[in-house]
């Protein structure tokens, strides 16, 4: 229990990941799926940024001269997550575009209804 409390960021991230994962898997509505995917991605960003964060240290932005390296948090995870966010945004945009197309063709964005439509 104590471990869980100490690592509350990681626990929260994994909790969020689970929520996003389940939404992505179980919901039939495409918009909800996309939201689920975003929650999932966000949880990973949270986890990553948390990995690089060291309590009591500053962001590695130089304002008043350079401190010793131990004075800053690790910038690499944050940098990586910038890339990750860009990727997630583009995937989301693409999925939304496809959803619009799908709605034009089928008239619905519920995947189970689309599945049933195949019969005719």
């Amino acid at each position: 229990m104590q471990i869980l409390l100490n690592n509350y960021m990681i626990v929260g991230a994994i909790f969020l990941f689970g929520i996003g994962f389940m939404i992505l898997l179980l919901h039939n509505n495409l918009i909800k799926k996309i939201i689920g995917m975003n929650i999932m991605d966000t949880s990973i960003f949270l986890l990553f940024v948390n990995l690089g964060y060291i309590k009591g240290k500053e962001a590695p932005i130089i304002i008043d001269g350079v401190m010793h390296a131990s004075g800053y948090v690790n910038p690499i995870p944050t940098g990586l997550m910038l890339t990750g966010i860009v990727v997630a945004v583009s995937v989301t945009a693409f999925m939304l575009a496809l959803t619009i197309k799908l709605y034009e063709k089928y008239g619905t964005i519920e995947l189970d209804e689309i599945q049933n439509l195949r019969g005719d």
């Binding site: 991605d41 990973i44 990995l51 990750g84 693409f94 496809l98 063709k105």
Partner: protein, 492 residues
């Protein structure tokens, strides 16, 4: 000169990325075709030179922008990477050549340029996945390839395509999420992203973190397994591959599902290494899923009515062979997994393109309607036949070589019962490929009303297919050299 040659992997990616964005600027379709073919040939040729160089001098690490690891991005180029890179370029070249004659019949003409842009982006990202030595970089390339692959599915603006693309994208982003989570776990243990540094750190810090390492391994396996159509995660594949235009199907089946496998192998052996890997159940899991894929993929393929769907399910079965080879966990098994990647890429490209020609020339889709096609299109069905013989595993063809050596590898690892799986799977292959060939060439009822050579395409349009099938036969004949070449660069 040496430095120039070492630029080739990066240069291939850069050239492709650059010209991907030049293509939309061109107005005339003819120019698009000419430019893409020229660029593709150029990339293929420089990759060929590169392979020759590697064969003579061995592999190397390449620092992008002269920043050494762990800060800069590193490409690791060895025998496997360069060979697979050449394979991807070559197949893409052949597919583009083929699409020169047939693409406009399948997609709207204003989308031709779009298709080529996406294709170049896709190939560039796939090459990136293959060459990379940095797992986060691999992840980014993986995402680019997913988006581009979805693009070449929806380029044909039909209902089924959009549905298939959505399905693919959802599952794929699930997979990417898992991979990214895996990267986060690995990073939290090791603090590095470059494969060799992670490996060292993992070996040092492994004490007491076995569970974390195992979880990260499973995350990678499942995440990349989705993209590589590992058996129960393959559900996106048949829809996507069968609805896409034939050149796209060929690229998807031959290249797109192969690159994640290479990445998975690199993660297994360069990040974790044999010692960590052999202490876990992950390889057994991969082996088990591979076996299931080999059997059930074929069983599903047997029950399909549409030709392209059948070939797509056959891909699932063939990916099963590759996972089987990885899962055996010994050197020969891994070599054969990579050899099978080559063999299957060439063969499946042939199959999809010839099936595409049938569909294009006749307008039919289901297997029943292709009875008697051998009289109308004898050469194309001949190519189809050769490729299916390889799938079934007739000696000399590459399919046989992989089957045989996989059997040797499973005997080597003491799992003799797996031989029955290999045998059963090749029999199942025979069961669904042969009826098409037999009904295509023979049978009184089937040939009634068919006119000899009536739907044949001019030979020049079939040339890429013929070259592909010749290369396939050569890959079987010279399997000894190929296996030896892969064996030199294998990670174990």
């Amino acid at each position: 000169m040496q430095n120039l040659i070492k630029l080739i992997p990066l240069a291939s990616i850069m050239i492709l990325m650059l010209f991907a964005f030049v293509i939309p600027l061109l107005k005339k379709k003819k120019h698009v075709y000419k430019l893409t073919l020229v660029i593709m040939s150029l990339v293929t040729v420089i990759n060929l030179i590169h392979v020759v160089y590697i064969a003579l001098n061995g592999g190397y690490l390449f620092d992008v922008g002269h920043f050494p690891a762990p800060f800069g991005i590193v490409l690791r180029i060895g025998e496997v990477e360069s060979g697979i890179g050449l394979l991807f370029c070559f197949i893409n070249l052949m597919v583009l050549w083929y699409s020169y004659f047939s693409l406009e019949k399948e997609i709207k003409s204003n989308r031709i340029g779009f298709f080529h842009t996406l294709d170049f982006l896709l190939l560039a990202s796939l090459l990136g996945i293959v060459f990379t030595y940095d797992i986060f970089n691999g992840f980014v390339f993986l995402e680019v390839s997913t988006l581009a692959a979805c693009g070449i599915i929806v380029v044909k603006d039909k209902k089924a395509n959009i549905k298939a693309a959505i399905k693919y994208l959802i599952l794929s982003s699930l997979g990417s999420g898992l991979v990214l989570m895996g990267i986060a776990f690995v990073y939290s243990i090791s603090g590095h992203l470059s494969m060799s540094y992670i490996h060292e750190a993992l070996i040092q810090n492994a004490e007491g973190k076995h569970n974390l390492i195992l979880i990260s391994m499973i995350l990678f396996t499942v995440g990349l397994g989705i993209k590589g159509a590992m058996f129960p995660l393959h559900i996106w594949l048949p829809d996507a591959h069968s609805s896409a235009p034939s050149p796209s199907s060929a690229i998807l089946s031959a290249l797109v599902i192969k690159a994640p496998i290479i990445f998975l192998i690199k993660v297994y052996y360069l990040v974790y290494g044999t010692t960590i890997l052999s202490g876990t159940v992950v390889l057994d899991l991969v082996l088990f899923l591979g076996v299931l894929g080999m059997i059930f993929g074929s069983l599903f393929a047997r029950s399909q009515k549409e030709l392209k769907r059948m070939i797509a399910y056959s891909s699932v079965a063939q990916m099963g062979y590759i996972f089987f080879g990885i899962g055996l966990g010994n050197k020969l098994g891994l070599i054969m997994a990579i050899y099978h990647i080559i063999a299957h890429a060439v063969t499946k490209a042939c199959l999809f393109l010839s099936a595409g020609s049938f569909i294009e020339q006749t307008g039919y889709k289901t297997i029943d309607e292709f009875k008697g096609i051998g009289k109308e299109m004898p050469v194309t069905l001949g190519i189809f036949t050769i490729s299916s013989l390889s799938m079934i595993g007739i000696p000399i063809f590459p399919g046989f070589i992989s089957k045989w050596n996989l059997a040797m590898a499973s005997i080597e690892s003491g799992k003799i019962l797996l031989l029955f799986v290999l045998i059963a799977s090749s029999l199942l292959n025979a069961v669904y490929y042969f009826p098409i060939i037999i009904n295509g060439y023979f049978g009184e009822d089937n040939l009634v009303g068919k006119v000899f050579n009536s739907k044949i395409r001019p030979v020049r349009t079939l040339l890429p297919l013929i070259i592909l099938s010749v290369v396939m036969v050569l890959a079987g004949l010279f399997s000894g050299f190929i296996i030896e070449f892969i064996g030199r660069g294998i990670y174990i």
